[in-house]
Amino acid sequence: MNVVHQSVDKIDGMGSVLGRPVYAEDLAPADALCVKFLRSPHAYARIRSILKDAAMKVPGMVLILIHQDCKPVLHTIAAEAYPEGSPYDRYLLEDTVRYVGDPVAVVAGETEQAVLEAMRLIEVDYEVLTPILDFEQALDNPIVLHQDVFTNLPIDNDPARNIAASFPWTRGDVDAELKKSDAVVKSTYYVQAQLHAMTETHRAFSYYDARGILTIVSSCQSPFHVQRIVSKTLEIPQYKIRVIKPRVGGAFGGKNSTFIEPFIAWVTKLTGRPAQMIFDRRESLTCTNTRHGMRIRVTMGGKKDGTINAIRLEVLANTGAYGEHAIDVLAVACKNTLPMYAKISAVDYYGVQVYTNMVPGGAYRGFGGAQSNFAIECAANELAHKLGIDPIALRKKNIIEEGESHPFLAGGSPAGDAIVRSTTLARCIDKGRELIGWDSKYPCRELDGDRVRGVGMSVAMHGSSIGGMDVADAEVRLNYDGGYTVFSGASDLGTGAETILCQIAAEALCTDMDHVWIVAADTGTTPYDKGAYASSSTYASGNAVLKAAQKLKAELLRGAKLVLRTEEEILFDGRCFQTSSGKTLSLSEYLTKVTYWKFAPDYFADEKTMPQLSASARHGGPTSPPPFVAGFAEVEVDRRTGKVTLIDYAEVVDCGTVINPKLARIQVEGGLVQGMGYALFEEIRYDKRGRMLSDSYTEYHIPRRLDIPRMQVAFEESCEPTGPYGAKSLGEVVFHTPASAIEEAIYNAVGVRLRSLPMTPEKVLAAIREKEGRQ
């Protein structure tokens, strides 16, 4: 392959390193109104009254919108395909606020100063209610958070019990199987919420273009879903709304809900003026969505020979004040993790999401799979020790192999379970073992009396797009100038998705990156795409681009045959057509002849002329082939302070064909660092009244250069028959392993199990002391 499988530079790379104005704030009109939210200081309250007269008198103030001003349209802010699984449990503004930070008023003025001053003068009279601030107390609590909820799909939403959604799935009889187990691990894990903390906070602006189309430029992940939600909440036809995604400064799932767009659109609709809302760092951290925090109970049974024969997973998840993405997170926690151990005869999963008066959970890299993977892998490591079996041997004995099926794998049907068609996980494990130096380091090595080093490993899988739901359309057009344009609704969030799509098109069309241009993520000009979530850009959007490019090539060959007036077989090398008898035609000659009417009668007696060639294709279908990873951690534990220092980390990845090796490597390194943050540093704290205290980069610690170890990244390519050029996804699976690999490394170092994340020094020391106390 000439373009795919090459480390091609990101097409937009030099633009941002030279500081070009390509982000939302850079593009906003200079006269855009500054719009901000006045937010609730209470975790749960009813609004008795809002007095805004004094605020409106501030010079420069234009508009203040409160709940009485909005038509009550129940909706979900989850940017996902219609019909959404997420419950419709929000109004734009309501007389009830359900978490500290919940919007109370939309405040719009000429300057930020005017708006801030006005916000100080708005008087809100709250009836403060008792909040639920502990998700383990939410189920069947007499305090109830929601009354009006609408659901498109049967998700077991039951607001009277504070249940946002539940998801049960069973195969076989777990209890019967457990009786046959030689060892059973039964543990409860607490995996915390996490904040995306992307460097570009949430922002968007809106305006009416010259034709009166309400145009929204938003740092978002799914422009088409944004368009639909704005249409629904403001009762404007979708075709009168255009949503454009500019360059986005990081998202990781955090920009997959409509926190801003309907509100600025509302202001623009009422005033006719452009409007912009930019969240500050505190709002971005504490008033958007977090990863869902969970309590996960695992029961895992194994036989003497190392076979895992039964798994039960019980998940209690905290969806916070609203239920966006709740059901899908539960589904992913089951379907993107449990198929790893395929020899299993009995699997039982039950997940429930409960409402609390805390910051709402939502989409975040891993999307439930990361959390359940921690619990399952920690349990698998514990089981290995209990059975007296090497944890690597346990994995190799149980992991799903090519050709094996599992009832929870996406793509199954009543006719049969889906099968895994590509995996090199066993090789990934072997390679990782070698890279970390497992054999000379397992289980631990003493450094001095105070410090000891240990190693641990874990495996993970995920999906590639959502089988049976995700749709990506693409169009590829050949231009008269000899270049190709790819039209795709896919949203590049900085990962290089646009580059990948161009590589795929260039490969299919036998050309180079210079000749391929892409127009993306604009509801006004590009075809529909579900957006950048669920690791779908390479697999789903890539497949659509590949099919469209292949169709275009077929059309091109047909056109060349017409121009060459031949029925012979024709070959195309990207620049030149050649028949088997040796007749040739260059692409540029072809284009000259078909573009200009002067030449038409010579060639197109029947057809008059050739139109500009363009081909469309869609990807949609049941498949979601899992990528696989094996992660190996080496840690150093200070026995006296509990401090865990990361020394080395090796991750070996099977994402099918690696379309762009250097971009893939960066995805792995970036995902691992986020996973290390989740494992050790990123602690979220609330005060007693429900206010999130982790509201800045000084209170919430994402990893920095001096926090992370040396990282070794390798790929063991498989070839996925359903993926574009054999590719699977990469974006989310690379997050999963650090938490469980590090947990096991700590256990091997100092003999204690940490069952709650993050594994802070205080928790580690407490566990060490507790173990000493027991001895």
């Binding site: 302070t641 401090k643 050790l680 540093f681 926090d707």
Partner: protein, 256 residues
């Protein structure tokens, strides 16, 4: 808004007079902490025109002007005091931030989690205020709020050895506890900070060493003498455990 009006006085007398004649006014040093103020101040008084950015060494002291940036201190005084001044600020954000944070602002604000305060306390630092004159850092840490202008920080040079230890989770986290042990011209000084309260001297630890105790015994004495409390970052009991470790390690590292 942080402050409404701005002045840049050219003499200390002018600055002090302005500070006292304008209630609610704020001094502008590094300016990095101003946004913590919830109320708008009527006036910001810039200290930048007062020439407080000199670093001088006399026969007895290192004198840092209050407007000296942490980075200037790091790079000019890195080899003094066994590098303790550098170690004490290396966890504070990054180099750009340390180019604007001033020594004076760091000391004057008396934050409990400050690593620098612990090192300066162990080094028997004196503070020069425009109006109130000279006082020890220890005195200042125990004073009620002082409306004055800090002009200089005097650090005696007669310290033969000093070591600084701290414990934090992420590398630029606030310290969960810190400790410094110094053998100064006027004897042993062992300071423990981020308890979460600000640095305090442990007389008991110094006594213990002076009577021939080991670093471990001195650490136990400090943990028994000093107070530790819970906050949202860590528990008091954990901090006490850390005190046992950090004081012992600081003493051993300093060869005391």
């Amino acid at each position: 808004m942080i402050f409404k009006e701005y002045v840049c006085p050219s003499t200390l007398a002018e600055a002090y007079e302005t500070l006292w004649s304008h209630p609610g006014s704020v001094l502008l040093g590094g300016c990095t902490l101003l946004r913590r103020n919830t109320r708008t101040s009527p006036l910001g008084i810039d200290l930048g025109g007062l020439g407080l950015n000199q670093i001088t060494k006399t026969g007895t002291d290192l004198i840092l002007g209050a407007s000296v940036s942490l980075r200037e201190m790091e790079t000019s005084c890195g080899d003094l005091f066994d590098g303790a001044l550098c170690k004490a600020v290396s966890a504070l954000g990054g180099i750009p931030l340390r180019n604007v944070i001033t020594v004076g602002g760091t000391v004057a604000s008396r934050f409990g989690t400050s690593d620098l305060l612990t090192v300066l306390l162990a080094l028997d630092t004196r503070l020069q205020f425009y109006h109130s004159g000279l006082c020890t850092l220890e005195e200042y840490l125990n004073m009620p709020p002082l409306r004055d202008i800090l002009t200089e920080i005097h650090i005696p040079l007669g310290c033969s050895r000093i070591a600084f230890q701290s414990m934090r989770n992420a590398c630029t986290d606030y310290a969960l506890l810190n400790a410094a042990a110094a053998d100064t011209a006027c004897g042993l000084r062992i300071a423990v900070g981020a308890r979460p309260m600000a640095a305090a001297l442990s007389e008991a630890a110094a006594d213990c060493i002076n009577r021939g105790g080991t670093p471990a015994q001195a650490a136990e004495a400090s943990a028994a003498e000093l107070k530790f409390a819970d906050n949202h970052r860590a528990g008091g009991a954990y901090r006490r455990e850390l005190c046992l470790v950090l004081v012992e390690r600081a003493l051993k590292e300093a060869g005391i």
